[in-house]
């Protein structure tokens, strides 16, 4: 069973993602900001990370930097943001995918499926 870390400050969104991805057969870990995510990462290594950008405390941008610096952890990251306009920048950031948040999670699911093949 693949483990997915979800980092998002919106509780409802975290719940939604968790339920949907659990239904898809993933093991889901939740974090509401960058610090929490780093705590999780210090104890275990998920197979993929779904990352929001705009968050209080440590935001997605800084977290992504730290993850990419830790070369030993080559964890693929899918950015899932309400902002469309950063998409171009993040494609340079070695994230696997940049998905604009939508109530339709088809895109996210298919991206995960592709990455964790």
């Amino acid at each position: 069973m693949k483990t997915v870390l979800i980092v998002d400050d919106e509780e409802n969104i975290r719940t939604l993602y968790k339920e949907e991805l659990t239904d898809e057969g993933y093991h889901v870990i939740l974090a509401s900001n960058g610090y929490e995510a780093l705590e999780v990462l210090s104890v275990q290594k998920p197979d993929a990370i779904i990352l929001d950008i705009k968050m209080p405390g440590m935001d997605g941008v800084n977290l992504l930097k730290l993850i990419k610096e830790r070369k030993e952890d080559d964890i693929p990251v899918i950015i899932c943001s309400a902002y469309e306009e950063y998409k171009q920048d993040f494609s340079l950031w070695a994230s696997e995918e940049y998905i604009v948040k939508s109530s339709d999670l088809t895109k996210m699911k298919s991206a995960l499926k592709r990455i964790l093949k």
Binding site: E10, E19, E20, K54, A82, Q88, K101, S103, D104, L105
Partner: protein, 833 residues
């Protein structure tokens, strides 16, 4: 013999002196000098009788103290001179100091003389004065000497008499002039008539004639006309009707020759005498001259003595009448001068009045910068009774763009009755010009008259051969057309329409340029347009021209100011929009998260509900509506972002594929087949890939909407090397767009769809525009629509900045440049235009 010769010479000289134009004082001086020289004596003097005949006054002297002249006054009967005046007989005194009649006048200079002759100056038995001569040495004067001096005294008697009359007349004249001055306010012509009447009356009374008539030479037709008669004439009407040419009748001959004429034996057969004059037995006619110019004649008829018996005219009468005539002439000349002066004054007053009106008009004109109102005031001033007083007037302005004269306004009654009504109205109100201008401004436009309507329809090319209005502009001068129907310069069309009979035009000039024309006429009262009218109109037009130019400049300025204000408003608006866009974006982002939750859970609910469950319907609605909201959000965000493109090197085909990918599922759902026609060798283009992708997404979305029941979407891409453009084609088979829709497709918020914001194509247009590209629609009704988008392969600006990778700085800079350039163009146009 010797004495006779001297006597003759002296008399001749004295006669000459007497008839000279010198004044009396100088004449007497010359006479005395002559006597002293010719008779070889040491001193001489002339005393003249004062008015009333009670005293003598020294008037001229040689060898006496000159200060005594007019200073010594002798009582008649006092001294030797006084004795002579009383006795009216000459006296020779061998030794003055031995003579008991002697009276000393200390300081007179008389005391050094020993012998003298004193002779009375007699005229018609009256003593007019005394002539004395003296010698220092004692001398026994001969009777010849006495006789000679008496002859001289006789000779100058008439001259003195004339001179005295002249003096009297001068006094009277001066009196009259002062009277005239007082009464000039009343009537100058009456005064002149009175003066003339006085001349004939005085002449008749002085000389004792039956009647006197005065002819004046009319400078216009050179005819002598009777201006005054005095006395008993049987046929005054006939006389005053008879105008004489120069040389005709006695008066005519006298005037022509400037010499007097005396006929004492008039008969029915007399030659050169008018028949009506032949009823008299004698006549005396003298010229009236002013500075050697004959202005008329004075004629006396039938001299009668104290008992009423006819007596002949004599030389004295002639002299007297000549004196009167010259006097009369002077008076007349003076009166004429006065009349001329008064006429000049009246003309000047007229001018002053003109200026006053012009001043008021120009004041009135300066109260408005509104061109329409100004034109109203101008034409009202032209037609106002207290203004320029024309019946009708039209104002035309030069349109420089079309080089035509264009009727702007016509003011004037439509018919005679209308004219009468207006004039009575104005007359009864008795408005001053100022009040009237105020009423013009208050009432604004008059009711539209037919005349105004016709005037406004006038369009005349400014070329030669296009009539007098065009000529007025071309030749920069006014025309006074007396007979419009026969004048070939008149444009017959206008003539017919406006019923011009005689009219005048005047150019409106400002800064040496003709900016318009005013036409005036007097159709209703038929008053002739005089040169004076034209002069005033021209004066007025120069003012009006300036005022119109001012108003135009003002309105141009106002328009420019308005443009600037509008531009400013637009800038503010766009700033507002930008701020609004930012706000919209932040709100949209905030909304997006809850929408994801709502929509996400609704989907979960929906997937868990069985199709038979009635709640399934509700969950579907939530899912659908959230989907719709998310789409709206996407469009709003795209619209608010589109102002600031972020450029990078992109492959169009990649962008197209990305956009197609978005629709992959929905196209297959709707049964839409996608065909690609991507050429090779397409260069990368410098664009904001997000925005361009949005463009393609919008076009695909529209195509999908048009082909909801299936169809084919053709997407093509090629490179046009010559133009340096990458072309993208998007065609559908959705049946095309209806004509009323196609004109609106790029308008924001226009939509035919039941869902969506309508912003799609507007955003598309804006994005393509911002990239310096172009979008074209080819509509084939019944078949489908093809959108062609051309994008420049290289952005024309910012190549250097591009390397600095400061995309935001660059784009905002570019944005500013566009604004600035736009602003200048806009101002330029407005100011120039």
């Amino acid at each position: 013999m010797e004495n006779n010769k001297i006597e003759y010479e002296i008399l001749r000289d004295i006669l000459k002196i007497s008839n000279s134009t010198l004044n009396l004082h100088e004449r007497l001086n010359q006479v005395v000098e002559k006597i002293v020289n010719k008779m070889h004596v040491d001193a001489g003097a002339v005393y003249l009788m004062k008015k009333g005949g009670e005293a003598l006054s020294l008037k001229a002297a040689v060898g006496l103290n000159p200060e005594m002249i007019n200073g010594i006054s002798l009582k008649v009967g006092e001294g030797i001179t006084g004795w002579v005046a009383v006795e009216k007989t000459p006296l020779a005194v061998r030794d003055i100091f031995q003579d008991p009649r002697m009276k000393k006048f200390p300081g007179s200079g008389e005391e050094k003389y020993r012998s003298m002759i004193s002779t009375p100056i007699l005229f018609l038995g009256k003593c007019l004065g005394v002539i004395n001569i003296w010698t220092i040495a004692e001398k026994e004067f001969t009777t010849d000497d006495l006789h000679l001096l008496s002859s001289i005294a006789d000779g100058i008697g008439g001259s003195i008499r004339n001179a005295q009359l002249y003096l009297d007349a001068t006094e009277q004249y001066e009196e009259l002039v002062s009277l005239y001055d007082i009464s000039k306010m009343l009537s100058s012509t009456l005064e002149l008539q009175e003066l003339i009447g006085m001349v004939t009356r005085k002449s008749t009374e002085f000389i004792g004639a039956s009647g006197c008539m005065l002819h004046l030479l009319d400078g216009n037709d050179n005819l002598l006309k009777v201006k005054s008669m005095y006395g008993l004439y049987k046929n005054p009407e006939e006389i005053s009707r008879t105008h004489l040419k120069l040389g005709e009748g006695t008066a005519g001959q006298v005037a022509a020759k400037a010499a007097p004429m005396m006929i004492n034996k008039l008969s029915k057969d007399s030659e050169n005498v008018l028949p009506m004059e032949r009823i008299f037995s004698s006549l005396l006619c003298v010229p009236m001259t002013v500075k050697e110019r004959v202005i008329g004649t004075l004629t006396l008829h039938d001299k009668k003595d104290a008992f009423g018996a006819l007596v002949p005219f004599d030389k004295d009468d002639m002299n007297l009448l000549m004196a009167l005539a010259s006097q009369g002439a002077l008076v007349l000349e003076n009166a004429w001068n006065y009349e001329r002066a008064e006429r000049l004054f009246q003309e000047n007053a007229q001018k002053a009045n003109d200026f006053a009106i012009l001043y008021e008009i120009s004041n009135a004109m300066s109260t408005t910068m509104n061109l329409d109102q100004l034109l109203q005031i101008i034409l009202k001033a032209v037609t106002f009774g207290g203004g320029l007083n024309f019946n009708r007037s039209i104002l035309l302005l030069v349109n420089e763009k079309t080089n035509t004269l264009q009727g702007m306004l016509g003011v004037g009654p439509d018919s005679g009755e209308d004219a009468f009504r207006i004039w009575t109205e104005i007359g009864s109100k008795k408005m001053s010009f100022k009040e009237w201008i105020a009423s013009v401004k208050a009432s604004g436009h008059d009711r539209t008259s037919r005349f105004d309507h016709l005037a406004k329809g006038i369009r005349i090319p400014i070329e030669y051969g296009k009539g007098v209005l065009a000529l007025t502009v071309l030749e920069k001068r006014g025309f006074n057309i007396r007979n419009a129907r026969e004048d070939l310069r008149i444009n017959p069309e206008i003539l017919q329409k406006l019923e011009f009979e005689s009219f005048a035009t005047v150019p409106l000039i400002s800064q040496d340029r003709v900016i318009g024309v005013i036409i005036v006429d007097n159709l209703y009262n038929k008053r002739e347009i005089t040169e004076n009218d034209l002069r005033r109109l021209e004066l007025f037009a120069s003012q009006a021209g300036l005022a119109i130019e001012n108003a135009k400049v003002y309105s141009d300025l106002e328009m420019a100011a308005r443009s600037i204000r509008e531009l400013q408003d637009r800038l503010i608006q766009s700033e507002k929009m930008a701020a609004l866009g930012e706000m919209a974006a932040s709100i949209a982002h905030e909304i997006r998260n809850p929408l994801v939750s709502i929509g996400g859970f609704a989907r979960r609910l929906d997937s868990k509900l069985d199709a038979s469950n009635p709640e399934k319907r509700y969950s579907r609605i939530i899912v659908k509506e959230v989907g719709r909201l998310e789409k709206v959000l996407q469009e709003v965000l795209a619209f608010s972002r589109s102002a600031e493109p972020m450029f990078s090197e992109c492959n169009v085909i990649t962008i197209l594929e990305e956009a197609l990918e978005v629709f992959e599922e929905s196209f297959s759902e709707s049964g839409i087949e996608v065909s690609r026609d991507f050429h090779d060798g397409i260069p990368t283009i410098h664009v904001d890939s997000n925005q361009i992708k949005q463009v393609f997404i919008n076009l695909f979305s529209n195509a999908q909407h048009a082909m909801s029941k299936g169809g084919r979407l053709s997407v093509g891409c090629e490179y046009k090397e010559v133009e340096g453009e990458v072309m993208v084609y998007v065609s559908d088979t959705g049946g095309g767009i209806s004509e009323d829709v196609i004109t609106n497709i790029f308008n924001p918020f226009f939509t035919t769809k039941h869902t969506g914001t309508g912003l799609g194509l507007a955003i598309t247009h804006r994005v393509v525009d911002a990239h310096g590209g172009d979008i074209l629609v080819k509509n084939e009704p019944g078949v489908g629509v093809t959108f062609s988008i051309s994008l420049p392969a290289r952005q024309k600006q910012g190549a250097a900045i591009q390397e600095m990778d400061l995309s935001e700085a660059r784009t905002s800079l570019k944005g500013k440049e566009i604004h600035h350039k736009g602003q200048e163009d806009f101002l330029d146009d407005k100011v120039k235009g």
